[in-house]
């Protein structure tokens, strides 16, 4: 490509991807008002739960965890979309990743923020939540380091810090672009965010190195986070919880639901921000194949878990097994199997079906199915724990439904706001992809050709 053409491409990328930042239509305000309203309603709901008492939820003896813990596990699962996918795609240098990575990393950070609220929302005395934190108290009382809930605290904090850094690093050059193209207050804010980025070869080199380190470091963190979330269940002697398969099962499910969330987010962004030129059908096609692979993996884990339980044939476990397989939870169970296995297998497995629309349909199915999966892990077990006398049923109450539902509004709201202040597709990575064939990208130790980019 000659240099004139290169400049023209750069300008087009800049104007296309900065358009959402520079122009705001009434639709943006409407979206923010609607989703902000739902989030505000959930806040009121939670306030009334705190002031009137936890009893306004449907939690009861012996089902002491319900919608809140389901939402917790679900959102921590969704958070695995981003960082993990983007880190792996970066490490294997998949060219098609370029427009996808940032959408994915943002999902991680926001989903983690939403998920991490639930351990506090579900507390009986949330005003004492800081007792979970290891802070030096004058009474020398520390949290109980044997408790999986304390492991959660460390795991989620590590992951949130790591993925925030991982999201922020590649945003620096883009902040510099916005800085250079804006004036006034916006210029001053982005000047701070850009951290003095000038685009010198040294800076590019350091950025690449830092991202390489983060991409490698974040993968074991992501795997450990959902393993530890699964430990919340597998460490307790509850039928169908105490299972060695839970760690990988939860991690696979998390990545599965994460890819689905990413596909939905990408399709929505493509449609509403008019990014058809950047998010091509091939991106959906490739992520669709990943979704298909994860559906197979998920099916493998469920089959494994179920078959081992069935052959183990222990009375406590079989009570829960039949409750989900055939009895009161069977409609939810088979909906889950349909949404998580049958639907993605058909839509993503048969090539002509693998379109953007069916990617979205399959992804919505997977998101519903994975939410049900978490619910079906938690509630049937707690309701059928060993002694038949203490069996119980759980009926979610309006406040729980409101808060659990509002998390989706919160996610959308955060996403909409984020897309307003940061280019949702990484400008510099896209330009690098336009200019340098992947085979020609030298290792990070050499001086980087990106240093010559006109940003």
């Amino acid at each position: 490509m000659n240099s004139e053409g290169r400049v023209r491409t750069d300008q087009r990328i800049n104007s296309d991807l900065l358009r959402p930042l520079m122009q705001t239509s009434w639709r943006f305000y409407l979206l923010v008002a609607i989703f902000g309203g739902i989030v505000a309603a959930a806040l009121i709901g939670w306030t009334s739960q705190v002031t009137r008492g936890f009893g306004i939820t449907g939690i009861r003896w012996p089902v002491y965890w319900g919608f809140y813990v389901t939402s917790f596990v679900f959102w921590i699962g969704i958070s695995h979309a981003g960082t993990l996918i983007s880190a792996i795609l970066r490490l294997v240098n998949a060219e098609w990743r370029r427009p996808v990575t940032r959408c994915a990393e943002v999902i991680t950070v926001f989903a983690l923020m939403i998920g991490a609220m639930f351990p506090i929302i579900h507390l009986g005395r949330p005003w004492l939540a800081f007792w979970l934190f290891p802070y030096p108290s004058e009474r020398m009382i520390w949290p109980n380091f044997r408790s999986p809930l304390v492991w959660d605290f460390f795991a989620i904090n590590t992951y949130l810090t790591g993925s925030t850094l991982f999201l922020f690093l590649p945003m620096i050059p883009d902040f510099a672009v916005v800085r250079d193209k804006s004036a006034g207050l916006r210029h001053r804010i982005y000047r701070v965010l850009a951290l003095g980025w000038r685009g010198s070869p040294k800076q590019w080199h350091r950025l690449e190195t830092a991202m390489q380190i983060m991409a490698i470091a974040i993968i074991p963190v992501a795997v450990s986070v959902h393993t530890i979330v699964s430990f919340d269940f597998s460490m307790a002697p509850v039928p169908m919880w105490q299972s060695t398969v839970f760690g990988p099962y939860f991690v696979a499910g998390a990545i599965f639901s994460g890819i689905a969330a990413l596909l939905i987010a990408m399709a929505v962004l493509r449609r509403f921000l008019h990014l058809e030129e950047y998010l091509h059908p091939v991106h959906f096609e490739n992520l669709g194949k990943l979704l298909l692979m994860m559906a197979l993996l998920w099916g493998y884990f469920v089959f494994n878990e179920r078959l081992v339980t069935y052959y183990g044939n222990r009375p406590g476990e079989m009570a829960v097994f039949w409750r989900t397989q055939r009895e009161s939870f069977a409609p939810l169970y088979w909906t889950m199997v349909t949404c998580n296995f049958v639907l993605p297998l058909v839509l993503m497995g048969i090539r002509p079906f693998r379109t953007i629309t069916s990617c979205v349909i399959a992804s919505i199915g997977v998101v519903i199915g994975m939410w049900l999966e978490r619910f079906l892990i938690i509630v049937p077990s707690l309701g059928h724990k060993y002694l038949p006398y203490s069996y119980g049923i759980y009926r979610p109450q309006p406040v729980e439904i409101l808060i659990a539902g509002a998390t989706f509004a919160a996610m959308t709201l955060l996403y909409v706001l984020f897309a307003k202040v940061v280019p949702i597709i990484s400008i510099w990575e896209l330009k690098a992809g336009e200019h340098v064939p992947s085979t020609l990208i030298p290792p990070a130790t050499q001086e980087h050709p990106l240093g010559e980019l006109h940003l």
Binding site: G53, Y64, P119, R125, P126, N144, L387
Partner: protein, 227 residues
Amino acid sequence: MPKWGMAVDLDRCNGCGACVTACHAENNISTVGAEEAARGRAKHWIRVERYWEGDFPDVRLKFRPVMCQQCDNAPCEPVCPTYASHHTADGLNAQVYNRCIGTRYCANACPYNVRFFDFFNPSWEKPLHLQLNPDVSLREVGVMEKCTFCVQRIKGATIQAKADGRPLADGEIQPACAQACPAKALVFGDLDDPGSAVSRLSKSSRGSKLLDDLGTRPSVTYLERQS
């Protein structure tokens, strides 16, 4: 140091429920009303489980009083993030209400479902509010509560015996449930004292632990029915 335990003779239990009432009165367990109780919010630190055997009309009813089993290897203890649920030197599973933040993890981990959550601040139907026990603290909304083996009585009797300069006698301490049981189905005492009534009963060939195969090592022994 004593090791507190209980023996429950299922032959003697006739399911009258006196233990449940006595426990409520002794331990300031708030009543929640019929509507909340139907929603699974009743707090019975001890309950009488009823199981029917056979098909109607040829049925037989079996009773089993179930309270906190005060396990030596209690699943509720390691999962508590704040040490609200912890093990005492004399083998009790203590619950520190003031330290509890209400994760309810302990109750989920408990295979016996003998832990209860305070969904609202405590209240009593009149005139029950006039008979609160000054030796037992009230629990505010959002904490877990459970059977303590009437730890206030254990402490009271231990301190009294120490003040009198004598050892504790077997049977001197009686939890409210054991005291109220008209059939004397519940026997409480020190398992470390081989001569105590509870030690002798616990060694009975009829004795078994509830959900023994879970490895929780309960301090409560059930003597199975012979008839």
